[in-house]
Assembly symmetry: C2
Homo-oligomer: 420 residues x 2
């Protein structure tokens, strides 16, 4: 049993929190931005210090590798992303990169024997905040292995021409070219050179905190679907049109949101989550009755049967009239539950027990690059407790001790995988 260094991990957290510092406790670090490049340079500097070999692939993923005793063995890779959402926190993504660095640094410092080469990796553009979609680059790299329904969303040419949300003249391809991090496609993560993958991430929910556990051993990424409900009414003047003749699309959508909560809650599945996070209203003027409103509903649960029950409630909305408006229901995307590799999951669980970490088995509700990697090579994930369950916001926080404990569990899980 080996342990990572609290002092070194704390120094990494403090250092990386400066790259993209937005001035009030969090960061904005869009992929391949100046701030992201500074974070990547820091990664390279620290990995070169322990004599890791640095490689780049054609989509700017970075790989830092230390050799093992068997020169022919496949690599074991650990990684996550350095980019953030706008006004994000200091842990989402970067914790997985810092933990991978910490594992390699500990292995080198303590001269821990291992057979396989061990790699710390940075995934490019996980958030997709500047160049949508999210998980863009893992979609590109794992493309051949993705289910058909997911594949179509990640066509290479479409991804390269993804336009910046801030600058219509700037594409992801432009960002790649000017980043200085574009390397060779032959360096991409692939099943011939890599045996398995680990990703450690903050939980982004309150389950661990509520249970008083520091570490989550993740068994799966929840299945989910995203549908859009569209309501069609008629724009009329707010001051002149009698109420009983109106077709108010916002009132319609409000009724539907309340209806969905009532019906879905009545199913009685405490682990089910669903969210209406995005709404569009037209013309969205205070003197006009809205003629068009849409919102999306994102639903997640491990069981396909439960998701089906919710889906029939969602689809049922199209059969009703809402405040005189018609409703259309359109599927945007869905995914089945992705289970992690059972063997790697067991290594992670055993490692947590051996290092006496307070831990429990949890699901991942959020998507991660590891989930696409899992279609290609055996993969698993670990979570670190998130204060108040917050993420994608500046107050995001895990203690240095929890972060270091996560790195320690990761180290020992990787060493088990190395021995197998």
């Amino acid at each position: 049993m080996y342990t990572c260094s609290l002092e070194r991990m704390t120094d990494k957290i403090e250092t990386f929190s400066r790259f993209g510092d937005a001035g009030h406790g969090g960061i904005t670090r869009y992929t391949l931005s100046e701030a992201d490049i500074a974070a990547r340079n820091e990664f390279v500097k620290r990995m070169e210090k322990i004599k890791a070999i640095i490689e780049y692939d054609d989509v700017a993923n970075v790989y830092a590798t230390i050799q093992g005793t068997d020169p022919d063995a496949k690599r074991i890779v650990m990684g996550s992303h350095t980019d953030s959402v706008k006004n994000g926190g200091n842990y989402d993504g970067i914790l997985g990169v810092m933990s991978a660095m910490e594992v390699l640094e500990t292995v080198v410092e303590k001269d821990i024997p291992h057979t396989h080469p061990l790699t710390a990796m940075i995934w490019t553009n996980e958030e997709g905040s500047l160049y949508p979609p999210a998980m863009m680059v893992s979609g590109i790299v794992c493309y051949d292995y993705l289910p058909e329904s997911i594949k179509e969303k990640f066509k290479y040419e479409n991804m390269l021409s993804s336009v910046s949300v801030l600058d219509p003249c700037d594409t992801f391809k432009d960002a790649l070219e000017r980043s200085g991090f574009k390397g060779d496609a032959k360096n991409r993560l692939n099943p011939d050179s890599y045996e398995s993958m680990f990703e450690i991430h903050i939980e982004q929910g309150p389950i661990l905190e509520d249970a008083g556990k520091n570490i989550g051993i993740v068994d799966c990424v929840l299945g989910m679907f995203n549908y859009r409900l569209r309501f069609y009414g008629q724009t009329v003047h707010a001051g002149t049109f009698p109420m009983n003749k109106r077709q108010d699309a916002l009132f319609a959508a409000s009724q539907a949101i309340c209806h969905l909560h009532k019906e879905i809650d009545a199913l009685g599945y405490p682990e089910l989550v669903y969210t209406t996070g995005e709404i569009v209203c037209h013309p969205n003027v205070h003197t006009c009755v809205p003629d068009y409103v849409d919102f999306c509903i994102d639903v997640r649960h491990e069981s396909a049967q439960v998701l089906d029950k919710v889906l029939s409630i969602v689809k049922g909305c199209a059969e009703k009239e809402w405040a005189g408006c018609n409703c259309e229901v359109e599927k945007m995307w869905n995914r089945d539950t992705v289970y992690w590799d059972k063997t790697l999951f067991t290594y992670a669980k055993e490692a947590a027990e051996e290092v006496d970490s307070s831990h429990m088995v949890v699901h991942s509700g959020a998507g991660h690059d590891a989930q696409f990697a899992a279609y290609m090579i055996p993969t698993t994930m670990l979570f670190v407790q998130s204060k108040d369950g917050l993420s994608h916001c500046e107050p995001e926080y895990s203690t240095p001790e929890q972060c270091t404990e996560g790195a320690t569990v990761l180290l020992n899980a990787v060493l088990k995988a190395d021995k197998s």
Copy 2:
């Protein structure tokens, strides 16, 4: 009794519908845009043809005046606006300008005797679509006469620096300077030179159509208030945060909209109208529970007592918790019911009877420039039936016969005012 020309009115409707033609039956004619300047030039051309004197004031209002027999008499003015909302129709505003032109053309053609000078007028920027707010220029011109609560919204310097919604480098002042329609402040509508004002407008509601009447004799502009309800929740990840711990600001707002409909409808006032036309959602991302939503509610009724009852329901929202979110209620603006000048109203009603127009007395739910003018000089309004009650949209329609009938009632009402 005199009648206007169906042929000449039809020609005007066809001609003016070309200025800003958006290609599918309606227009986009922002104030002082190229399309609006073309419409203004057409007005000037036609008014010069009947030898009217053309004057411009410093906020680009245009006045075309034909003399009466008494050179010292005050003017009687008829007018409305040439600007439109985005993808508006061919009648809102411009009908009042065309009707004023038609009255002057009829008076000149038929050599109708009259004592007072008669003026056709174009108000600048009634819609406020490009440079908010609506009724900006009547707010400027009638500023000294406005109630204190309205005044603060229309400070001259603030109005001049109103920024284009399409171009952050362009202000209303810039538009005025480049328009070629900026004249002298001494030409502004004022109570020393003008005796009374008439505005004819499309109804923008279905009351006349449902009653089978062509012309509305308007008695007042309804009192109204506009409040904003703000809901404060917490952004958390859509996939990872348990439902029972969420503070979802969009669910909160949806519940509040349904609650407002239920409670306000229960008051049982059939003439009451209220609208939640505008909603803002933050961060408005499908994977995030919204942490902030606001919407506005616009409520209109003739009776201050009825408005007070609704207001107490609206304010009551701040005392409840909505889906774990706090609610704040903020007043944006309000106005009392503005009654038109009783004498002018009577002239309009008598004129409608004399020309055998099918008519009825109606309220105006919408605001118009005439409403600000009414604080300064005696003013009244006439409405022309709107097909299906539609306005601020491309299908807006009144028949040429209805439009000409409106002009005829206007002409005869003005002649009554001239004689008094």
